[in-house]
């Protein structure tokens, strides 16, 4: 026969301070563990969502980012002549040749400079990214020194808000619109007219070419055509993969560091749980003896104390997760080492993280509670009763 759960739960209530301290320690560990995973997940989600399944990004071979890449007009012309490029409703071919550069802008919060992506786009470039919507102001006029800024940039950088002016490439650029890219990487970019950008930055070639495929399944054939053409020194990638790859290093760094820290923390929390459970066992020696005398088996005692430890862990896990889920309201902006550019992303709580965090919390409770529970179960009835 098993000891009722009620008995286990009441023991925790009886020792409120100790229970709160132990569960609080575990809650903090779970909180750190979950937030770090949420951060890595948020970064991945942002960059993965940036790409479209049927879009292709073409950059110079072995360049890893758009900023490193360079494509001259001759090569761009060859890519443009591909038959697999989709045609929009208005008869326009859905291909955009874009110059992408980085400029230094000071942050509003700290005044310290960070690198921001400036992208030259055409009307086709906008059609290729349906997730981008103007939320304030208007679109830039092609052929003028007007730009539109992504929401994170408009909020976070000096001179990038609606109606403000930015100075770069010896010109003043007016921000005439703010766009929302649905929490994708484009939220951290500034867009202007492609030809204007080329002139301003005195570039002769583009950084990347983005086009939409007529048929997403034709990607491999198109890639083979592009990469086997001896006139071209280019590389084609699905847009989705291209952006996913750019989140790899930073999200790995965050999750490695975070997991490492969590493991160290959890040692502390496990010790806390073990101390609590040992004390709980020691102070209830008489009770344990009585329970055994009443006919509860060693197994039942073991299960009861393990149950108490698991309950402690669960409590800590739930409190920690509640704290972590509150972090979803925050977004964080930092430099992605791979692109050397600023990227804004938010903490994202996924079901997977909830499950992993709870397992982690229960695991801490189990490890911390096992030895004390075993000690309780090993007690001899006579000794235990005498101790009381």
């Amino acid at each position: 026969m098993a000891i009722p759960l009620n008995y286990i739960a009441r023991n925790m209530v009886a020792r409120r301070l100790t229970t709160a301290l132990t569960a609080g320690g575990m809650a903090l560990v779970v909180y750190v563990f979950a937030t770090v995973l949420m951060l890595a997940a948020g970064l991945e989600k942002t960059l993965v969502a940036t790409g479209q399944e049927d879009n292709v990004v073409v950059i110079r071979r072995s360049a890893q980012t758009e900023v490193q890449s360079g494509i001259d007009r001759l090569q761009a012309g060859i890519v443009e002549s591909l038959p697999d490029i989709a045609v929009a409703a208005d008869g326009q071919r859905m291909i955009s040749k874009e110059p992408v550069v980085l400029i230094n802008l000071p942050k509003r919060s700290t005044g310290k400079a960070a690198n921001v992506v400036i992208r030259g786009v055409t009307s086709a470039g906008l059609a290729l990214r349906p997730q981008v919507k103007l939320v304030e102001g208007r679109m830039f006029q092609p052929g003028t020194a007007e730009v539109i800024a992504g929401r994170s940039i408009a909020d976070g950088f000096q001179g990038a808000g609606l109606g403000e002016t930015l100075r770069f490439a010896s010109r003043d650029w007016t921000v005439v619109g703010v766009f929302d890219a649905g929490r994708t990487g484009f939220d951290s970019e500034i867009w202007g007219d492609a030809e204007q950008m080329l002139q301003a930055f005195r570039r002769n070639g583009f950084s990347s070419i983005i086009f939409k495929l007529v048929d997403a399944d034709r990607f491999d054939a198109v890639k083979a055509t592009l990469e086997s053409d001896p006139r071209l020194t280019l590389e084609a990638k699905r847009e989705k993969r291209f952006y996913a790859e750019q989140s790899e290093a930073l999200s790995k760094f965050i999750s490695y560091l975070g997991t490492g820290i969590s493991i160290i923390f959890s040692i502390g929390a496990v010790i806390g749980a073990a101390i609590t459970m040992y004390a709980s066992v020691a102070s209830r020696t008489g009770e344990i003896g009585t329970l055994r005398a009443l006919g509860f088996s060693r197994g039942a005692i073991l299960v009861a104390f393990l149950g108490e430890a698991l309950l402690l862990g669960l409590l800590g896990g739930i409190v920690g997760l509640a704290g972590a889920s509150a972090m979803q309201a925050l977004s964080i902006s930092t430099t992605n080492f791979q692109t050397f550019a600023e990227i804004a992303f938010s903490f994202t709580l996924t079901p997977g993280i909830v499950v992993v965090s709870l397992i982690f919390a229960l695991g801490m409770g189990f490890v911390g509670g096992f030895l004390p529970a075993a000690r309780a179960a090993r007690m001899k009835i006579v000794d235990a009763l005498r101790a009381a």
């Binding site: 301290l21 320690g25 980085l102 010790i271 101390i275």
Partner: protein
């Protein structure tokens, strides 16, 4: 002698509990020290920079290069004693995982501006006369097992193609903080090859480094340099080397702040564990405390007993934690390798670690000591833990 002995006996009455608590504190203090050291390592570049050097880059961003002929004009600016230049190469060695900084440098002028890179006279000469020669820092050479004379291929990400260099020397750092995980090769080799392939991209330098005659003049000289190129096609931004390095640190600020925050959270966690231990200990001994008071010992004495025990345990953990930080930091450095250089435990870190242990001890004892001091003798004697 009676009081310290009593505290000691008390502390080790529950040997298992005290041991577990001490282990917890060791883990927390070690983690705290390690995290602080990681943050410090980020600032290593800035700390190792010389106040007598300025860095000039394009005012737009580091992605844009500057015309090489700027070197002549910068040299004429009063207060500048010599000029060197460098280009970030950003090549890949074997695969993307093997990241280390690579620069194309302006030969002798660069090595003269950076006297902290110690290179033997013979190696220096061998490097300077070889167009495809390169030198690597000791740490980097050790990591990949390079020897002088080795061929090192790098796949360019910014400059297309595979570039093969011959290692002509391995340099050491003059100080402990000097970064010896970089790879330098001849700017002329890069420039000539680029001019042949992409004439428009030739004769461009990423940054210029100026040696100042007098560090006091840094502000005036940097302004003079920037004024020289104002309203040109490539405007410049000149700052001290330290400000330049701190600019990089600022980019990862969000992450650094998170690590710092976390390093304090670990202290809070262990505070909860320690407070728990002390709360349980004191609760079990209310009877004894009441007895002491009945014998005539003051409330303060009872509180002092608890504080002394708590502080003793915390400081024991703290000191052991500091000792453990050293091998841990070494192990961590060998795993991370060349990403973070100048991985050293500072004195401030050690002081903070001990201070943290002290705070843990005091905070953990506060509530139990208060309770024990206030408990009425009758209640205390009746209490059964």
């Amino acid at each position: 002698m009676f009081v310290p002995l009593l505290v000691l006996r008390n502390a080790f009455r529950h040997r298992l509990r005290t041991t577990l608590t001490v282990i917890g504190i060791i883990v927390a203090i070690t983690a705290f020290g390690l995290l602080r050291t990681i943050v410090d390592a980020w600032y290593a570049g800035a700390n190792a920079s010389s106040s007598a050097r300025l860095v000039t880059r394009s005012s737009v961003s580091l992605v844009f290069s500057l015309p090489l002929n700027y070197a002549q004009k910068i040299r004429q600016v009063p207060g500048v004693s010599s000029v060197a230049w460098a280009n970030w190469f950003g090549g890949v060695y074997v695969n993307e995982r093997n990241f280390f900084p690579q620069f194309a440098i302006s030969g002798a002028s660069y090595l003269d501006v950076y006297p902290e890179f110690l290179l033997s006279e013979a190696e220096r000469k061998a490097f300077l006369v070889d167009r495809v020669g390169a030198i690597a820092g000791r740490k980097l050479a050790d990591k990949y097992g390079w020897k002088v004379g080795d061929q090192i291929p790098l796949r360019g990400t910014i400059y297309p193609g595979t570039w093969t260099f011959t290692l002509r020397g391995i340099f050491d750092g003059a100080e402990a903080g000097t970064d010896t995980s970089t790879f330098f090769f001849q700017f002329d080799y890069l420039n000539e090859s680029i001019k042949r392939l992409y004439p428009r991209r030739g004769d461009q330098a990423g940054v210029f480094i100026e040696q100042l005659r007098d560090p006091e003049e840094a502000a005036a000289v940097s302004q003079a340099i920037d004024t020289t190129f104002r309203n040109s096609l490539a405007e410049t931004l000149t700052e001290t080397e330290k400000a330049f390095q701190l600019g990089f640190v600022a980019m990862s600020e969000a992450i650094l702040l998170a690590i710092q925050a976390v390093s304090y959270v670990v202290i809070v966690i262990i505070m909860a564990v320690m407070a728990n231990t002390m709360a349980m200990t004191a609760r079990e001994r209310y009877g004894e405390y009441a007895t002491l008071k009945a014998l005539g010992f003051s409330n303060g004495f009872v509180a002092m007993l608890i504080f002394a025990e708590s502080l003793g345990i915390a400081l024991l953990g703290g000191v052991l934690g500091v000792m453990f930080t050293f091998p841990m930091a070494e192990a961590f450095a060998s795993v991370v390798g060349s990403i973070l250089t100048g991985f050293q435990i500072s004195e401030t870190t050690i002081v903070l670690q001990i201070a943290a242990a002290f705070v843990i001890g005091v905070v953990a004892a506060a509530v139990p000591a208060w309770n024990a001091a206030r408990i009425r003798i009758v209640d205390g004697l009746r209490a059964i833990g």
